[in-house]
Symmetry: C2
Subunit: 218 residues, 2 copies
C-alpha cells in the first residue's frame, strides 16, 4: 500500500482486511499508523546495515572497501526500491513524533551501526597509510561527503527530473563524484591509478553474488 499509494494511501482498515484480522488487533502490535510504518522501515534498514557489514569485510585496499559500501548501497536500492520513499515519510517531524520510543531507539541503533562500519574503514585507511587527514578534520569527514551525496541523490531523483537534467545519467554522475571527492581527500589509490570499475564488478560478484547495477562499473 505504501509503495503504491504513499502515506495517505495506507489504510489501517484495509490492512486489517488484508491480514484477515480486525483493526483492534493491528493496534495491539502498533501504537499508530506511523508506528507501523516505522516498523516496516526498521526491518529494511536492518537488512541494509547487514549488507554494509558484509561489504566492509571485503578483502582489499581500503578505498575498495569504501567502494564496496557503494556497491552494497546500489544493490540494496535495486532490492528495495521503495525503502527511501518510506523513510522520507518518517522524516517529517509531525509524523516522527507519533512513533514509540522503543522503535525510535532501534532506528538510531541501526543507523549508528552503519556509520560505525564506515568510520572504521577511514580509521583503517589512515593506519594503512592510504589516507592522511589534515589536523582538525574529523574522521567522519570523507564519509560524510559520500553519505550526503547518496542521500541527496535519492531525494533529487525520487521526484520528476528537472529539465536541465532530463538527458543526464545522474547515477553515473553521482559515482564519478564519489570518486572526485575521495580524490580530493587524496585517498589512495586515486581513481586515475586504479581500475575501480573492475573492482566494483568483482565486489558485486564475490560479496553479493550478483552483477553490479547499471552505471556503476563501465
Amino acid at each position: 500500500m505504501l509503495a503504491e499509494r504513499g502515506y495517505l494511501g495506507l489504510n489501517m482498515e484495509r490492512i486489517a482486511e488484508a491480514i484477515e484480522y480486525s483493526k483492534g488487533t493491528v493496534y495491539q502490535h502498533f501504537a499508530s499508523k506511523e508506528d507501523l510504518i516505522a516498523a516496516l522501515c526498521n526491518d529494511t534498514a536492518a537488512a541494509r546495515a547487514e549488507m554494509f557489514r558484509k561489504a566492509a569485510s571485503f578483502d582489499g585496499r581500503t578505498r575498495e572497501r569504501v567502494l564496496a559500501i557503494g556497491v552494497a548501497d546500489a544493490i540494496f536500492i535495486r532490492r528495495h526500491p521503495d525503502h527511501f520513499a518510506v523513510e522520507s515519510i518518517l522524516d517529517l517531524e509531525s509524523i516522527a513524533s507519533k512513533i514509540t520510543d522503543e522503535r525510535r531507539e532501534q532506528w538510531i541503533r541501526t543507523k549508528s551501526a552503519m556509520m560505525d562500519v564506515l568510520t572504521q574503514i577511514v580509521r583503517d585507511a589512515i593506519d594503512a597509510g592510504d589516507l592522511r587527514l589534515p589536523e582538525g578534520t574529523p574522521l567522519c569527514a570523507p564519509l560524510y561527503g559520500l553519505w550526503t551525496q547518496s542521500v541527496g541523490h535519492y531525494r533529487i531523483t525520487s521526484s520528476e527530473p528537472l529539465p536541465p537534467f532530463e538527458n543526464v545519467d545522474l547515477r553515473r554522475v553521482l559515482w564519478q563524484n564519489y570518486g572526485r571527492i575521495l580524490d580530493g581527500y587524496g585517498w589512495r589509490p586515486l581513481s586515475g591509478d586504479w581500475d575501480y570499475g573492475a573492482s566494483a564488478n568483482q565486489i558485486s560478484e564475490s560479496v553479493f553474488g550478483e552483477p553490479a547495477p547499471e552505471g556503476i562499473a563501465r
Copy 2:
C-alpha cells in the same frame, strides 16, 4: 502552523479563523491543504532563486561565484529555517499528487531557473580556462556534486544527530567537502591557492549586506 506542528498540525479550520474568513473562502484560493502548502513553498523558493541570481552575478573568479551560491544558500537557510521541512512534505508522492498543475509547473520553473544559473557558471569556468571537464562528462556534473551534498546535509541534520556525529560540526565538514569535490575536478584556483574564507566574507557583505553565517569562513 507548519513550522510549529508540521503537516498534521496545519489545520484548515484554524487557518480560516486566523485570517477571519470561513473555510469555504480558503478553498476558493487553494484546491486542497496540500495545494496551500505548495503555494507557501513556491513563494519561498522564488526568493531563494532570486538570491541565487544575485550571488551568481558576483564579480570575481568563477569558483568564487560558485562559492557565492553557497553563501546565498547559507543565508537563505538563516532567513527561512523552516523552508526545507515544508519542502520535504511536498516530496511525499501521496501529497504531491494533490497539488494543482499550475502550482506544480511554477515549482519546476523556479527550480530549473536555479539550475540554469549554476550551469552558466560552469560554462563560464570552462570558457575562462578555470575548469576542464573530461570528454563525456556532462556540464552539470560538478554542480550536481554540490547540490546532492547540500540536499543530503539538510536531510541528515534536520533529524536528531546520530551518536557518531554528535560532537562534529557538520556544517563545517560540508563546506570542506564542497572544496574537496571542486578540487577533485581541478576547478581553479584550488582551495590551497586561494583564501576562500576571505572571499566568503567579502561576498556576504557586498552581495547580501550581512555577515557570513557561522562555520563558512574561518
